[in-house]
Amino acid sequence: MRVVIAEDNALLREGLVLLLGSAGHEVAGVAATGPEVLPLLLEQRPDVAVLDVRLPPGFRDEGLRAALDARRKLPALPVLVLSQYVEETYAAELLGGGAHGVGYLLKDRVGRVDEFLEALERVAAGGTALDPEVVTELMSRSRGKGPLDSLTPREQEVLRLMAEGRDNATIAKALVITERSVHKHIGNVFAKLGLPPSDSGHRRVLAVLAYLKR
């Protein structure tokens, strides 16, 4: 995969390059400031972009803005946004244009190299990767509103993993159960929450998130 990175901290930039290189990906370009990002993406047309939220010159949300612009200009471009803290509104803004090929993760997750690479590949393939922290925040806010409490613990775990954007196979692997039982749990979740049954993929993520945000 060809990857473009935008990260202002030299230490982390170097670490990401090392990490992606070790996984056999090609780093096609590196940006250190907000205004460099979009031209670089338009020039390189990578398979996926990994962007830091906070970039110079303003050190606010330049990276996020660049990601939103990039998705407007190159709608098929998968974007994985990294940040040192998660903000649910940022997730909402990113998902505003659809959950196709969108990722929003805490930088901490990069340390779990395999999981991070799995999430990156998922996003590059058009999937979704939402940080567990965002999902936890959403789930805790939806608590006490009825249907969510009627889910069994296992079903809640399935819902959480669905919201993170994982497909049935990885959910099965994460929970160490068969894909068949995952399928069954998902059916139950959708029925209990009153959601129309949805196939796997980003449409399902959106449905789940929309429910959680209600």
């Binding site: 901290n9 982390l12 070790s22 050190f59 901490d108 990069v110 190299v113 991070f116």
Partner: protein, 433 residues
């Protein structure tokens, strides 16, 4: 504990006990640190004459001012009647402006004589419509204080000048014999200085802003420093957040990345994993160093452990300069008795840190002095180096940060750095303790 510059009462030796009974006079001089010292000096006839001439000059300008006041009273009456008849309302603000100019001149003259500034406070006169300006001119309490002074100056300015005229020939005769021939201290001519001081004191009293104006000025000042404190606090929080974000947090993420890579490499390439683990350890150490740096910026731990004096000594020891630290009235240790509030201690600490950093970096000096003393419920800090001076406050952010920190505590910063040195930073921090 070193005692420095103490307001030790210097008992003056009476003039007649001096071995040489020449004209002697006691002078009150303002010593460093505004401690009033009584300095014994013998005053020659020439000096007596010189100060009498200076005083007379002051009194004559005062009399000249009285004449101008006389004219000004006429102008004021004219403007008042013109305003009363509506047609000449435009004259009023302009006249008040002239009056303020005149009062301003006297304030500067008095300030020069007494050595203390005379604050002034007026409502602005150059904003709004004519009606608003007339209203401002008429309703400003400052205008009435100026008018009161105007009338009074006409009287005492002339009276005191006439008194000086009478005193001169008498003084020349009496002191000529008494001081010049009999070598006794001058009696009459020094009275001229007292007359000039009396004139300046009366003017100062009349021209000081009213208590309510001073109060409202104080409120403005408090509002400004409070806003400054809030802004400084906000800036401080942002600085800490930025430091943590770019420093420790980034290092920890990088550390975690290295560990993740090392784990991946562990089975196939143990050598590579080892290198990665080494790098990870370096990263962990850097993260700790970053955290220490941030913590020190928030509240230096040495302050907690050693108290202000110990912390300042530590700063002095680590500054790379030969620094002498003089302390008075402060506890030399971490025990609670005699310690200033934590915010005041931290501010004083950063003042010293900034002062010594600048001295080491820019002054070219190899030695500096730090003085800390407690006086009238104030903590005073002075950092002085004998370097090349010419420190420019606008050129760095360090002193600005110090200034904000100190202003937030209602204190004041005074930087003097003439070209050629010395550079002195003096800070007063009020603290009830």
């Amino acid at each position: 504990m070193t005692v420095f510059n103490s307001p030790r009462p210097t008992v003056p030796i009476p003039w007649h006990q001096l071995p040489n009974r020449r004209c002697s006079q006691l002078y009150r001089a303002r010593g460093p640190g505004a401690h009033t010292l009584i300095v014994m000096r013998r005053v020659t006839v020439r000096e007596v004459l010189r100060s009498a001439v200076r005083a007379s000059f002051h009194l004559v300008t005062g009399a000249g001012l009285s004449v101008v006041c006389y004219l000004m009273i006429g102008l004021t009456l004219l403007a008042a009647t013109a305003t009363a008849c509506v047609i000449g309302a435009g004259m009023l603000p302009e006249t008040v402006r002239v009056l303020r100019g005149l009062a301003g001149f006297e304030r500067r003259r008095v300030a020069a004589w007494l050595g203390t500034p005379v604050p002034e406070r007026y409502l602005p006169l150059d904003q709004g419509s004519l009606l608003e300006r007339v209203r401002a001119a008429g309703s400003d309490p400052g205008t009435y204080r100026d008018l009161r002074w105007l009338a009074a100056q006409l009287l005492y300015g002339l009276v005191l000048c006439y008194a000086a005229m009478v005193l001169w020939p008498l003084g020349l005769l009496v002191d000529g014999v008494w001081c010049g021939l009999a070598r006794r201290p001058a009696v009459l001519l020094p009275r001229l200085s007292e007359l000039a001081t009396l004139e300046a004191r009366i003017s100062r009293q009349l021209l000081l802003p009213s208590p309510s104006a001073r109060l409202s000025e104080r409120i403005d000042q408090l509002a400004a420093t409070r806003a400054g404190a809030v802004a400084a606090h906000g800036a401080e929080l942002r600085r800490i957040e930025r430091d943590l974000h770019d420093g420790a947090q980034a290092h920890l993420v990088a550390l975690s990345m290295r560990l993740g890579l090392a784990r991946r490499a562990y089975d196939q390439q143990p050598a590579a994993a080892r290198t990665l683990l080494d790098a990870a350890q370096d990263q962990a150490e850097e993260a700790l160093a970053e955290l220490r740096h941030v913590v020190r910026g928030i509240h230096p731990p040495v302050l907690t452990d050693r108290g202000l004096v110990g912390a300042v000594r530590a700063l002095a020891a680590g500054s790379g300069l030969e620094v002498s630290v003089a302390v008075q009235g402060l506890a030399d240790g971490p025990e609670d008795g005699g310690r200033a509030p934590a915010a005041v201690e931290a501010a004083a600490y950063f003042v010293v840190a900034e002062g010594l950093t600048n001295a080491a970096k820019h002054s070219g000096a190899d030695r500096a002095t730090v003085e800390l003393w407690r006086e009238d419920g104030m903590l005073r800090v002075r950092v002085r180096d004998e370097g090349r001076g010419g420190a420019d406050e606008g050129s760095g952010t360090g002193l600005l940060g110090v200034r904000r920190r100190v202003a937030a505590l209602d204190g004041s910063v005074c930087l003097t750095s003439p070209s050629g040195g010395p550079t002195v930073v003096e800070v007063v921090l009020p603290c009830a303790w």
